[in-house]
Symmetry: C2
Subunit: 206 residues, 2 copies
């Protein structure tokens, strides 16, 4: 269908269209945009991608992306190392950090258990978390995974491996979003929000 | 709002989000996808972009993107050099080539006149086309630009510069798309398709 007049062009389009959500038409549009810009912009983009993949580093403690061996959160003496929030990836860390309300540390799994996508427990960073738990370094674990079947499966797997230790295990609260109207909430969320109702004094603190 | 835990990550996200239609959340999703892939994939992407921008070449005759000094269409003796189809960019050349019905050559303007985006006649490849016309090398020019205000402006500008020469000037036909139902066509298109009706014998050839 596509007769590219240039191998260079075809090659760049092929590579860009390997990215998720970018088809060949979009890739061609992006490439033509780059050709109209100053060449420094294309160079900076190409080099930033190569450099990122080559020099990327993960924190030895929490597995989050980090420029140093131990990330800024794990090495911060103000953060409570005894409280660990388990998340899927760096985006969740950034989202929780943006709330400004959490003072513990994180543990980044690098994904969630998903048999459909061929991701099993062996592909994720579970063992180092269990190791920390076994050493008695953790007093509380907060599971902050997506409210999906994969997230629930991962929560349950983790709960089974952690329950032998003296650790408080919780999940982040599921309920009605702030600003939402009750009549539009789905029944499962509404049901859970009634079962796990919060003492009103806690609301006053938030 | 975004607290990136790594400068490398932030840099790659910044560069990717300079592309049109890619916001910072999408850029982060693409970058995290690249980090999960084999490093050869990120390298190939980065290098294809740098190489394209550095080594890109445009045909000396028609200004289309080409790996050789004269593109494969312009150097093909089977193509009629006397018929020139004027298009905006390489995507239009590819679209027309895909029909398999056109046997002339192209002239790629590299854009259309758009005062809103600061693109004037001086930014586009008009002069070489006028030069060819003045030398008497062209017998017919087909203007195949978008049916937008910018396309119409460009058509009119070109028409004014070309009318002094003995050249047949036409535009591609505007009308009802094949497969479309009349009742859903807009009035301007339907009106034009009646004004510029086609002898039925021509349809039988198509």
């Amino acid at each position: 269908m596509y007769n590219f007049p240039s191998k260079l062009l075809e090659n760049a389009v092929n590579e860009l269209s390997k990215l998720p959500g970018i088809g060949r038409k979009t890739a061609l549009r992006l490439v033509l945009h780059l050709l109209k810009q100053d060449s420094a912009i294309a160079d900076a983009l190409g080099e930033s991608i190569i450099k990122l993949r080559k020099e990327i580093n993960y924190c030895k403690l929490c597995h989050n992306i980090s420029d140093s061996e131990i990330c800024l959160i794990c090495s911060n003496p103000q953060r409570d190392q005894g409280i660990v929030c388990v998340v899927e990836d760096v985006r969740d860390v950034m989202a929780i950090e943006n709330t400004g309300l959490y003072k513990g540390v994180y543990h980044v799994l690098g994904g969630i258990i998903s048999p459909m996508e061929g991701v099993g427990p062996g592909d994720l960073n579970f063992d180092s978390l269990i190791g920390k738990a076994a050493k008695g370094e953790i007093k509380e674990i907060i599971m902050a995974l997506s409210a999906t079947m994969e997230g629930d499966t991962t929560n349950f797997y983790l709960y089974k491996r952690l329950k032998e230790f003296q650790i408080t295990i919780s999940t982040i609260a599921r309920g009605i979003s702030i600003g939402d109207e009750l009549e539009y909430a789905d029944e499962i969320t509404l049901g859970r929000s009634i079962m796990n109702r919060t003492p009103y004094e806690n609301m006053l603190k938030g």
